[in-house]
Symmetry: C2
Subunit: 104 residues, 2 copies
């Protein structure tokens, strides 16, 4: 759970998270989320924050208006671990529940 994923494992995990991309040097994974408005964007952040606190594994993130950029890495491991993959999956689930119709 806390070992750095090797290059092949990381790419295999990301195949199931197509909207995430790998940072140069495999140091982290990133995704940009777009929401309907600021309340929806911050609602997403609040839900992910509670989950992150429960996991004791936190995102690096930037928000402006309805956009949230998320960067996940495990500092202790010096790269991406299964903890980041789990948090990415959770964030995608929260996003999917909030944005029922992504074209809206």
């Amino acid at each position: 759970m806390t070992d750095k994923l090797d290059a092949a494992s990381l790419r295999q995990r990301l195949a199931a998270l197509p909207q995430w991309h790998i940072e140069a040097g495999d140091a982290a994974i990133r995704r940009e989320y777009l929401f309907a408005d600021f309340p929806q964007a911050f609602g997403f952040m609040a839900q992910v924050a509670l989950h992150a606190e429960r996991l004791d594994h936190h995102p690096e993130w930037f928000n402006v208006h309805r956009r949230v950029d998320v960067r996940l890495t495990t500092h202790d491991a010096g790269g991406v671990t299964e903890r980041d993959i789990a948090l990415a999956r959770h964030a995608d689930d929260v996003h999917a529940r909030l944005v029922r119709d992504p074209s809206a």
Copy 2:
């Protein structure tokens, strides 16, 4: 309230907000906040988010663990306005209430 502050007015306002600094070109003001931990940092963000939504004026911000970097600007005015100064004051108030002893 929504007119861009001229260089002299902006510097006058910032004199009362000593921990904020002016971005190159007077495009925005910035401050970095440090909290005890992630829950306190996110609690700060939640309080500022609610106030920002009420003002209909939102920050650009980045969070990692117990750090929150805030950037304020008024896009419609092409620079810093009284709305940014008001939001900066509010954020400082929330921070001061949360962090009773900044040396802790």
